[in-house]
């Protein structure tokens, strides 16, 4: 395959990944690595490096739109970024010491779990109005706009959430993904942060988390300009278009279709990892 054809095909694939990722809220990063590794036969290390850089682009690009809505909580984000950035470096260092087959298997299981999360219809945890001392001390309490006026909230089980965030950062650094699903889970289920606040704050954190592992990746040569160029531009274009058409799309059908794709990719990653082909 010529460099020109490779670039155009990867650009197209990453565009679709970014578009679907934005429309379903799952992020494009989870499918970019399997796409590069399984379809284009790119070495796992190059695939992870390119995916990670594209995660920075899509999350930073979307942040401008999110902050206008006034849902994100800068203090929660900054506090939890201490955990995610340390985790990201740990993950990136683990990635440079284990075999690509091992990473492929872990990646496969994360894909299966993401698909499960996206189709599961979980009831929102009931609001817990009880004040939390740690949250008050850290000034994490906030409010967000609703049609009925500003809705105040408080943050619970902060040490548990902090621990989850370290795990989310480690996965992000190990696999070159945003780990948005794990981050939202930690904030919704453990810390009881309202869904809209957790989604937008998580997006905010993804860029900083990815930047922490990007330094390690760059120094180890995982970021190759020939692959990263079409991946970053494609994913960025796709996610920007996705954010624009989001209101008109039938996301439920899309989520199911995307989840089926993710399950198939996850199974193939696990198989190829165990047989040592990746």
């Amino acid at each position: 395959m010529s460099v020109l054809l490779f670039t155009l095909l990867v650009l197209l694939g990453s565009f679709l990944a970014g578009l679907l990722g934005a429309l379903t809220g799952l992020g494009g990063g989870v499918v970019i690595v399997p796409l590069l590794a399984l379809v284009f036969h790119v070495d796992m290390r190059y695939a992870i490096g390119a995916s990670l850089v594209s995660v920075i682009a899509t999350s930073s690009g979307a942040a401008a739109a999110y902050v206008r809505e006034g849902f994100s909580n800068m203090r929660i984000g900054m506090f939890l970024e201490i955990a995610t950035t340390v985790g990201a470096i740990v993950g990136a260092l683990i990635a440079t010491h284990v075999s690509t087959s091992t990473i492929a298997v872990v990646f496969g299981f994360v894909l299966l779990y993401s698909a499960y999360l996206s189709v599961r219809t979980q009831p929102a945890p009931p609001p817990n109005p009880k004040q939390d001392r740690v949250s008050r001390f850290l000034r994490l309490d906030g409010s967000y706009p609703t049609p009925q006026g500003a809705q105040a909230y408080t943050v619970h089980r902060i040490p548990l959430g902090f621990g989850f965030m370290f795990g989310a950062g480690t996965l992000s650094g190990l696999l070159g993904i945003g780990s948005g699903a794990v981050k939202v889970l930690a904030m919704d289920q453990a810390m009881r942060i309202p869904f809209k606040v957790s989604t937008t704050t998580s997006n905010f954190m993804i860029g900083v988390t990815a930047a922490a592992s990007a330094g390690v990746y760059l120094a180890r040569g995982y970021i190759d300009p020939g692959i990263a160029m079409p991946v970053v531009l494609g994913a960025l274009g796709g996610s920007m278009l996705g954010a624009k058409v989001l209101i008109h799309a039938r996301t439920k059908t899309l989520r199911i279709v995307f989840s089926v794709v993710i399950v198939a990719l996850g199974a193939e990653m696990i198989f190829n990892g165990f047989t040592g082909r990746l």
Binding site: V3, A64, A211, G215
Partner: protein, 131 residues
């Protein structure tokens, strides 16, 4: 902060500025990547693409001096890598800006948290190997 409402208002204004900062950083780095990509494709578009084997550990584009040197020689790959560096720097700029914003609000606890995050980022980019 004497008033909670004022605090929230300031936070929101800061976030709008941060949103713009991030968008500008992403668009600027995308422009550099596109430019470098055009240079790269016009020269090497007909070469054979082969990424099956990993050769990254010997790439000169792993280090800042390597990227700077290549960019001065007008290498397409080095210019793309420079654009990617700008992209990585964008969220870091956001953290630096947040530190300043918290300092203006005299929220020293959060200045400390933000500096901790900056320290981790600095370790990744400088300590872990970009020398």
């Amino acid at each position: 902060m004497s008033s909670g409402a004022k605090n929230t208002w300031n936070d929101q204004r800061i976030e709008v500025i941060i949103g713009r900062l991030l968008r500008t950083g992403v668009l600027l780095s995308a422009a550099v990547v596109i430019f470098g990509g055009c240079v790269y494709l016009s020269r090497h578009g007909h070469s054979v693409a082969s990424y099956r084997a990993f050769h990254g550990d010997t790439s000169p584009l792993r280090t800042l001096p390597g990227i700077a040197h290549g960019t001065l020689q007008f290498s397409g790959r080095a210019i793309i890598q420079l654009g990617l560096l700008l992209l990585i720097a964008t969220p870091i700029a956001r953290v630096i800006f947040s530190a300043i914003a918290f300092a203006v609000e005299r929220d020293y606890l959060y200045v400390a948290f933000t500096l901790a995050v900056l320290g981790v980022l600095a370790y990744s980019l400088l300590g872990a190997g970009l020398h």
